[in-house]
Amino acid sequence: MAEEQKKRKKRKTATKAAASIGPMVKESITSTIRAREEGKQKIAYTFIVCQHDEILRAMDIVPVWTENYSGICGAKRDAERFLQRAESLGFSRSLCTYALCGLGFDQWREELGEMPPDAPWGGQVRPDFMISSGQILCDPRSKWYQAAQQFMPDVPIYNIDLPYPLFDPKRDHREVWGYYHRYIVKELRGLVSFLEEQTGKKMDYDRLRELVDLGDRTWNLIHETYELRRAVPCPMGTGDAMNTMVPMCFMMGTQEAYDFYLDLNKELKEKIARGEGEVEEEKYRLLWGGGLPAWYALNDFNYFNSKGASFPAETTYRMVVPLYEMDIPETNDPIEHLAWRWLGYWTFWYEKARKRPGSEPDVERLIQYIEDYKIDGVVMHEAFSCRTWHVGLIWQLHQLAKIYKPIPVLVLGKEGKKEKKQRELPSLVLESDIIDITSYSEVDTRNKIDAFIETLESLRRARAA
């Protein structure tokens, strides 16, 4: 059966850009293996969304994004053997399966002294050092590499503590973010010294400034490009966005990433001009409202598409807003800027949330997308192994329901009279995992999708009536 599953067809993408991602990821993995062989650059294990991409690039470090590799194993439906290995070491299956897959893989590679047999895309190379990023994002980010040191005790770790203030409806976060900023700046400077020590090179701050500028421009470009998806019909859906996230997450601060989004931008504009949507006849516009995807089941997006449902927006892997809309202080120091970027990213919706009693930043974000993208329904994915992105989803849906209820939608009634109707958004919560395929059932998932589509359909009719 493993064979049957592996032989699944490649997912059909709506955009050429998304289709080009596969080879790009493969090349990025291969390039780390090449770098290891050549031995000229230092290789670092690290995590995405930490605002340190430009620092790594400026120091010529080759980043190995360990979540990425686990995701690849998952997408190839070949994570199970690594997960099992981690379990046999004593790690519980209830922990982050990215981490388990990575740990299982590393342990195996270290035990063999070479890549495990048939390692997907050649395997994940041994790093020279590891950069953890603990604190608020998630525990695995500070515990995973520490656990990996059991098999690689000689590989040092730098743990950047990256906090941001949690949302408090009663307090303006700007009252406290000064000392948060100071701390993060120190942490990032600490990272720079660590890298200088490891590489024996000094940081070239001019180069860093350039790269940060490039990163900023990419950030804004991504936002503008994704906003094009507001078009009806929507030219690109979340299924594709789960591919086009690659340069955003793994290549920030490179020209290549910038160029990729330039191309995507162009492609989307062309499609819009031609009136070409992700699906042939767009009936429903859905929001991917939370959760990392099940990487082995991206085909489910095509299933949605086959029913006329498109996903113009998602909250996963997205720059919240362009940087110029963020209310963060200007500075010439690139490190200080990175720290502000981090804080700005996490606190962007706070102010809005404070103004609407009972709301929450994440809920505000959903509302914004629902309105901007003319959304008919929300789909979320609850992956059992990651608390960070998957706790609070029920709550958000509850809040959303409360907030949406009173919004009256005016429709033309039977005798041509205007009537108030309540607008309610149906939602669907899919349950499985990011890469643990044993938690997934295609039959169940598709059943749920069918029922959800029927729900959308009956609402559509009700509105039309």
């Binding site: 604190q135 525990d139 949690l166 929450e360 608390r387 609070g392």
Partner: protein, 385 residues
């Protein structure tokens, strides 16, 4: 029930009727502030004139309402606490403090605060690394925390208030540590169950009352001539938040004695003290950042060697095992507990290093699993016996 009961009888009463005293005090107009984890700086609550109260779950109560608001991928202990809270078991609370300890806590913070809707709700963002910069940050964070309490009670918290609270809490820790001494004889003079109940009862009381209760327990147990237990293997319980005496009871039912622990509702919380010589905020930062030994706090491996690393990280386990002459250890963890879950292999390796046999149990938080635990624990005791 006899309200005049003393010592262990009083412990039993407060344990069984958890929160009864806090409820009375709240009816008298006192403000009770709930917390859930050893990282919540209690001295600040005491200094503000409020009463710190540690929430407990209930393994006999199925989680129902809580599950309608919070995902089941949160650690079951924490879900149970939440469930009881939303079922109004802790209706006497005026506020809550939730520290940054694990993903389960951080991620469910807003769900808690909205669902309970208490006048006071504060998140204390404890850093996860120990460095100069994190001390500076944590000092600031503690000041924010202090300010929030001041606003809530409407009065300043002075350094003297803090110093007084620190002294009281240190006293409490000294007394708790003294209770542990009764575990040293073989068989121990106090059962693991009794000790667990004592510390739990204490965490439901204002600090002065807790101190008095500990005095009574010390006196009562001090008079014992004979152990309540037979001679059996001496067990250390290693784990996170174990807020009931059931596990110890089960182990002792099977013929062993629980003589040591590293748990949050035990030595992790009660042993480390605050330095009374330092300025209060700094001293608190020092205790809660560095002295509390929890996997949540990342400790750098400076040796480049796995063995040395675990020796450094888990030294306290080794000392405890030696001091209390343990024959075996049980790591008891809940599913979905990230900070501890990632350390299981390293901890296992450490126990091998110090030649203490180990049983690893991963559990849900439910009385329904006791039968399953029984067989595993009994088999383990047979293995080491």
């Amino acid at each position: 029930m006899n309200k005049q009961s003393k010592g262990m009888a009083k412990v039993e009463r407060y344990y069984e009727n958890y929160g009864s005293r806090a409820r009375e005090l709240s009816a008298e107009g006192k403000k009770v502030i709930g917390y859930v984890c050893s990282f919540a700086p209690l001295e600040m609550i005491t200094a503000s004139g409020c009463i710190p109260f540690r929430l407990r779950g209930d393994i006999h109560e199925p989680i129902t309402k809580g599950d309608t608001l919070l995902e089941t991928i949160v650690c079951p202990y924490y879900r149970s606490c939440f469930d009881l809270a939303v079922k109004h078991r802790y209706e006497f609370l005026s506020g809550m403090v939730i520290p940054h300890a694990c993903d389960s806590m951080v991620r469910s913070f807003s769900v808690w605060s909205y669902s309970l809707n208490l006048p006071y709700f504060q998140f204390v963002n404890t850093p996860s690394v120990v460095k100069d910069s994190s001390f500076e940050f944590f000092n600031e964070e503690l000041k924010t925390y202090k300010k929030s309490l001041e606003e809530f009670v409407g009065k300043k918290i002075t350094d003297d208030d803090l110093a007084g609270a620190i002294q009281l809490h240190n006293e409490n820790r000294n007394k708790a540590r003294a209770v542990y001494e009764f575990r040293k004889p073989d068989p121990p003079l106090i059962t693991g169950q009794e000790l667990a109940k004592t510390l739990l009862a204490c965490s439901s009381l204002p600090i002065e009352e807790s101190n008095r209760l500990l005095d009574e327990v010390l006196e009562e147990v001090g008079q014992r001539k004979k152990s309540p237990l037979g001679k059996g293997p001496r067990i250390l319980i290693d784990g996170a938040c174990i807020d009931n005496a059931e596990l110890a009871g089960l182990v002792e039912d099977l013929g062993a004695s629980v003589v040591a622990d590293t748990i949050c509702n035990g030595s992790r919380d009660y042993w480390p003290k605050v330095d009374e010589k330092k300025p209060p905020i700094e001293a608190l930062a020092d205790r809660y950042l560095d002295k509390l030994n929890c996997p949540k706090t990342y400790r750098e491996n400076k040796t480049g060697n796995f063995e040395e690393d675990i020796k450094a990280r888990f030294a306290d386990i080794g000392f405890t095992a030696k001091e209390f002459q343990v024959d075996g250890a049980i790591i008891y963890l809940y599913r979905y507990c990230d900070p501890f879950g990632f350390e299981v292999p390293a901890r296992k390796a450490y126990y091998e290093l110090i030649h203490v046999p180990l049983l690893h149990l991963e559990d849900l938080y439910s009385a329904g699993t006791i039968g399953q635990l029984r067989t595993r624990i009994q088999a383990f005791l047979e293995m080491i016996g």
